[in-house]
C-alpha cells in the first residue's frame, strides 16, 4: 500500500503545480504593488509648478483625504486619463494635487493650459527625486492619502471612469468617515 502511495506523489505534486499556474494566469507579473501602502507618505518640499515662489509639502494636507497624481507633459497615457481627472475634479469629492515628474516647467504649464487643470496645484519634481522616494516607476500613477498622511492605495496606470467609481470613490468615502 505504501508503495502505491509513493507512486502517486508525482501526480499530487503536478496537481499542485497546475493549481498555482491557473492562479498565475490571472495575475500580471509585471505589476509591482507599492510597498508604501499603509505607510506615511514620504515628506518633501517642492516649488509649485505654476508659481515657483510658493512651495508644497504633504504636511500641508494633513487632516484631509487627498489624491497625488504623478504626471508629465511627455507622457502619452496621461493625456488619456486627463479628461477623467477633470471630470472627477469637478465632482469636488477630494482635492487632487499633481506631481509634475521629470518635466520642464514651461512644458508642464503649457500642457495644463492646453488641456485643463484638474489639480489644485502641481508640485514641480524636475529631477524625479520625489518620484523615486514614492516608488514611482511609470507615469501616470496616483496615490490616495488619508487624513493622517498615510498612503492608502496606489493606482498604477491610467485612471478610467470604472476605477473612479469602483476603487476611488468607495475608498475616499471610507477614509472621510474616519
Amino acid at each position: 500500500m505504501k508503495r502505491v502511495l509513493v507512486f502517486l506523489l508525482p501526480l499530487v505534486g503536478f496537481a499542485l503545480l497546475i493549481g498555482f499556474l491557473a492562479v498565475g494566469l490571472k495575475r500580471d507579473p509585471r505589476e509591482i504593488p507599492s510597498p508604501f501602502i499603509g505607510k506615511p507618505a514620504p515628506a518633501f518640499t517642492l516649488t509649485q509648478l505654476q508659481d515657483q515662489n510658493k512651495t508644497f509639502s504633504p504636511k500641508d494636507m494633513l487632516g484631509k483625504v487627498w489624491l497625488l497624481n504623478v504626471w508629465a507633459s511627455w507622457c502619452v497615457s496621461c493625456r488619456e486619463e486627463h479628461p477623467v481627472l477633470l471630470d472627477f475634479a469637478k465632482q469636488n469629492v477630494v482635492p487632487i494635487m499633481g506631481l509634475n515628474y521629470k518635466d520642464g516647467r514651461k512644458e508642464g504649464v503649457d500642457t495644463l493650459s492646453q488641456m485643463g487643470d484638474p489639480y489644485q496645484l502641481s508640485a514641480f519634481d524636475a529631477d524625479g527625486r520625489v518620484g523615486i522616494d514614492y516608488g514611482v516607476y511609470g507615469v501616470p500613477e496616483t496615490f490616495v492619502i488619508d487624513k493622517q498622511g498615510v498612503i492608502r492605495d496606489k493606482i498604477i496606470g491610467v485612471i478610467t471612469p470604472e476605477i473612479v467609481t469602483q476603487k476611488l470613490l468607495p475608498l475616499i468615502k471610507e477614509l472621510n468617515r474616519a
Binding site: S34, P35, K102, I132, Y137, G138
Partner: protein, 158 residues
C-alpha cells in the same frame, strides 16, 4: 638613402594626417574603482521599467536616475546593504535580483540543499534494502530447473 627618405616622409605624412589631439581615450567613468563598486551593486537590482534587465545595463530614464543615486550614495559612504534597503523601501523586494532571505523565501534558498540531502538519504536507504545477498538456491530447485530446461524445445539463441 633614398629609400629611407621615402619612408621618413611617408611616416611623417601619416602622422600629420591624424588630428593633433589623437591620444589615449578617456574612460567614461571618472573614477573606475567607484564605478566597479556601483556596477557590483546595480547588477543585482532589477530595472522596473524594462523588467528583464539590471539597473546596470538598462537604458530607461529611471535606470539612469537610480544608477546616479547609487553612485551618490556610494560616494557618501553608504553601505551596500543600506543602499539596497533604500531601494527596497521604495520599490519592494521586486527590485532585488537576489531575493532576500525571509520566512517566505526559506523554501527557495534552502529547498535545493534539503532536496539534495533528502534525495541522497532516500537513495542510500533504498539501495541498502536492496543489496541483500543472492538467496541460496536449494538443491531441489536446481534439479527442477535442469529438468525443465532439458524438456523445453531449442530456443533461438540471442
Amino acid at each position: 638613402m633614398r629609400k629611407f627618405a621615402v619612408i621618413l616622409i611617408a611616416s611623417l605624412a601619416t602622422y600629420c594626417a591624424f588630428p593633433a589631439f589623437a591620444d589615449e581615450a578617456t574612460p567614461v567613468a571618472t573614477d573606475p574603482v567607484l564605478e566597479e563598486h556601483v556596477k557590483a551593486i546595480t547588477e543585482e537590482l532589477r530595472c522596473l521599467v524594462c523588467q528583464n534587465q539590471t539597473i546596470a545595463d538598462a537604458h530607461a530614464d529611471l535606470a539612469i536616475d537610480l544608477r546616479n543615486q547609487v553612485r551618490e550614495k556610494v560616494k557618501q559612504g553608504m553601505s551596500d546593504q543600506a543602499i539596497k534597503d533604500y531601494m527596497v523601501q521604495r520599490y519592494g523586494d521586486f527590485v532585488l535580483y537576489r531575493p532576500p532571505v525571509k520566512s517566505t523565501t526559506w523554501l527557495l534558498w534552502f529547498g535545493p540543499f534539503l532536496l539534495l540531502l533528502g534525495g541522497l538519504v532516500i537513495l542510500m536507504l533504498r539501495l541498502r534494502s536492496r543489496t541483500t545477498p543472492d538467496e541460496m538456491i536449494s538443491e531441489s530447485d536446481l534439479q527442477r530447473a535442469a529438468a525443465l530446461l532439458r524438456a523445453s524445445p531449442e530456443s533461438t539463441k540471442e
